[in-house]
């Protein structure tokens, strides 16, 4: 669920973008690749083509199911979209170390996955 609590603002180009206390966009329509770059920098990640294709999978998942995926369904969605060699948790852990489902969702402009602990 998107939260309405604003914790801080990112300044992107000429406007401010509200973030909730966990660093997710308050208004999901604010998302742009430039915002993904800034959020990635906060996570210590430099986005490469391998990151962007997973971000696309995450955004497509949300557009279809209205929910950010937990790890298992994310692995499955990546496997379906990008092939079995990329649809592995190891690959996703390398791209988004720590918690791929949560960090991936944040960079893709999605709410925090509901069932991701």
């Amino acid at each position: 669920m998107p939260t309405t609590t604003v914790s801080r603002y990112l300044v992107v180009e000429d406007h401010e973008v509200a973030l909730d206390p966990e660093g997710h966009l308050v208004d999901l329509d604010d998302w742009s690749p430039a915002i993904a770059e800034i959020l990635a920098r906060e996570e210590g990640i430099t986005l490469t083509a391998a990151h962007w294709e997973v971000i696309e999978v995450l955004r497509a998942f949300y557009a279809r199911y209205e929910t950010a995926p937990a790890m298992r369904p994310l692995v499955k969605a990546v496997a379906l979209a990008l092939g079995a060699d990329k649809g592995r948790s190891l690959h996703l852990m390398r791209l988004f170390p720590g918690s791929p489902a949560r960090i991936g969702a944040r960079l893709a402009g999605l709410p925090k996955p509901a069932n991701c602990l």
């Binding site: 998942f61 279809r64 199911y65 209205e66 929910t67 995926p69 937990a70 790890m71 298992r72 369904p73 499955k76 969605a77 509901a114 069932n115 991701c116």
Partner: protein, 123 residues
């Protein structure tokens, strides 16, 4: 319908969409269990069969329904969906009216399900 190995969780859904939060809570419970690798069966009983009707929309005030969540079940590998045959009949619905592939089951096979799961939750 019998299983050599007991499955982990049977979620019995007996409420339709939109009218209460129980259907959503039941689905959320199933998703959490599946996210942790548990084997989950969903059994739609009584009014719960209406949760599977195709072509559902948001509520009149724009409230999100449960159809998108149901479509997502396969991404969580929740693919064993059972629906009470007599409830389908009661509502005048056939398997072809449902948005997902679900197996219509008789009362006799429903009675076998609770014992073949480690945990049974009713919503």
């Amino acid at each position: 319908m019998s299983h050599a190995k007991p499955r982990d969780l049977l979620v019995i859904l007996r409420r339709g969409p939109h009218g209460s939060s129980q259907l959503r809570e039941g689905l959320d419970t199933a998703l959490v269990a599946a996210a942790f690798g548990r084997t989950v069966t969903l059994l739609f009983m009584g009014e719960g069969v209406t949760a599977l009707v195709a072509d559902q929309k948001a509520g009149p005030l724009g409230q999100k329904g449960t159809a998108a969540t149901l479509e997502m079940l396969e991404m969580y590998d929740i693919d064993r969906l059972l629906v009470e045959a007599s409830a389908l009949e009661q509502f005048g619905l056939g398997e072809e009216d449902l948005m997902l592939e679900a197996t219509a089951v008789s009362q006799a096979s429903i009675a076998l399900e609770p014992a073949s799961h480690r945990l049974v939750l009713v919503f």
